[in-house]
Amino acid sequence: MNTATHTLDPHAGHAHHPAGLMRWLTTTNHKDIGTMYLTFSLLMFFVGGAMILAVRAELFQPGLQLMKPEFFNQLIGVHALVMIFAALMPAATGFANWMIPLMIGAPDMALPRLNNWGFWLLPPAALLLTMPFILALFGIGDGAVATGWTLYAPLSVQGGIGVDFAIFSIHILGISSIMGSINIIATLLNMRAPGMTLMKMPLFCWGWLVTAVLLIITLPVLAGGVTMLLTDRHFGTHFFNAAGGGDPILFQHLFWFFGHPEVYILLLPVWGLMPHVLSTFTRKPIYGHTAQVYGFIAIGVLGLIVWAHHFMTAGLPVPALLYFMYSTMAISLPLAVLFFCWIATMWRGAMSFETPMLFAIGFIVLFGIAGLTGLVLADVAADAQYHHSYFVVAHFHYALFAGGIMGVMTGVYYWLPKWTGHMYSEKLGKLHFWLTVISFNFTFMPQFFLGLAGMPRRIPDYALQFTEFNAISTVGAFVLGLSQLLFAWNIWRCVRGGAKATDEVWEGTSGLEWELSSPPPYHSWDTQPVIKSGT
């Protein structure tokens, strides 16, 4: 490797920071913070997963066996909030912290202290969200937020203290995300290596740039919406109270003005990382770099103006319905460009199927199903039947589990040897992939049929004719959940030791991050690399 000019000793900088717990509390190093984000994310992934396994256990049979409906309602909402805000988003931010400085040749993030603060806001926020469960055990309050993650008024105006906890948790999570986004934008715009123009910036960075802008635009609107909810609950305002001149539908607008871009916030970092993985394991350059950049931007812009397709049955007038239908369907065009570029990158490549590549291909196939079923839901006439059914649940789990979480797993397997300096167990990784992809389909494919047959979501009981598909789904969910223990075990083993990874790790890599040692030194790119024109 041509890294002779850089410090290769990973322990070179260790004398400068405190050891033990204080290191992690006070660190401003982007690699430490990235590690903390990813660890937190993995932990919360299991917390959110445990919640939904309890739900699936209840749904194994018709009738109520394990829990009261109130508790069921709390579990589904907190599962979603935990998975979105505490598992998926921190995972993407962890990737950004670790990889963006390495990829653009920057010594660290632009605002390291803000970075530290951004991370340490997360654990208190997660605690706030889940604490009402524990308080209820001691007879305080009636449990966590039970409205589903969408917090629709007027239900959320009437709910117990769990709603207040969720509101404050969302405020803190929002502040954390906005600080992270500002940091990432400042890093990407100000700290690229000389010669790296915006268009030469790696696609993962581009995906994150669009994500960060979306976060800064939409999260404050959600923060405003839940603030109104808070004042409606406690300070006598009537934003969502029809008797006082307000309108509950307004909350849906405020929520989904954030909520729809949020889907792309979760997915854009993954879309950005996919081309890198595909290019590596097909040993070909990325196809359509520029097209994908414009695809990201187009999806980001379109994503901001389609929000009302989430409540097409709320009584919107026909012209509005048509507008939201067509604009939603228009998103499939730039998305098709991305799919085309991913497949064209693989076309006639010298492919090999290591774990990250398996996950990437699984991502493309399953996320494709999410896109196609999304087109069905976008159709106003069809949506009247599918709205709030299990069809929707299946659709967005294809988008957010197969698209989001499997995308994150792609990234973890792809970069783990770079981060730790060790190879993970390929055998365990492949086993994890096949178990995940098969049990995922066993879990969610039946839910499409359940939804088409008319099973509503968010209800703890169901009619007898839904029994078989629900039983299959529950068995699938437990296999899916338990398979993730393999993932955690594989990561743990890889962190502890294993075969030494080379600097390049994989055969077909390209990019600055692979020129550093594995693991990279604590302080990397102290001397910024120069990108020659034409590379």
Partner: protein, 184 residues
Amino acid sequence: MNEAALPPPRKHGRLVVRLLLLAVAFFAFGFALVPLYDTFCEAVGFNGKTLRDATQAKDLPPSAVDYSRKLDVQFTSTLMPGLPWEIRPLEPAIELHPGELRTTRFLVRNLSDQTIVGQAVPSVSPTVAARSFQKLDCFCFTQQTLAPGESREMALTFVVDSGINKDISELTLAYAFFPAPPKP
């Protein structure tokens, strides 16, 4: 790794301030949506919202009665949780010509042994007809107080504008009676 090799420190302050301002602007935008949404709904009749008080509308006196058309106007009412009242329209449906001034009554009774204040909220469907449904006087303009056991006939005087969409032959006015929110 000597100090001179470090890149010159970049100034992030300006960019950070701009991004923060963007976040603050969108926080404000969320609140600005409240009046914007209301104005928008009233202007185009989205969401079944009728004008609060048609006497404030500019195009009154209402246009001439169109005797060539007949409209079927239906009335329904619901009670929201927490209001121990009874309400029903005295005429479930009436036939009228667009432009005709009409009055109808709802019977409201307080079933509890307490004095209770309620507020009726109207909604018209189909929603495109909301703009044309002009209320001149309505018990929904103010809060209504009923003594224990009291029953009262509450009147609504309205005109359906003769400019109403030609495709509409029937429309429904629904009242939801809410317990009045405590005064802030």
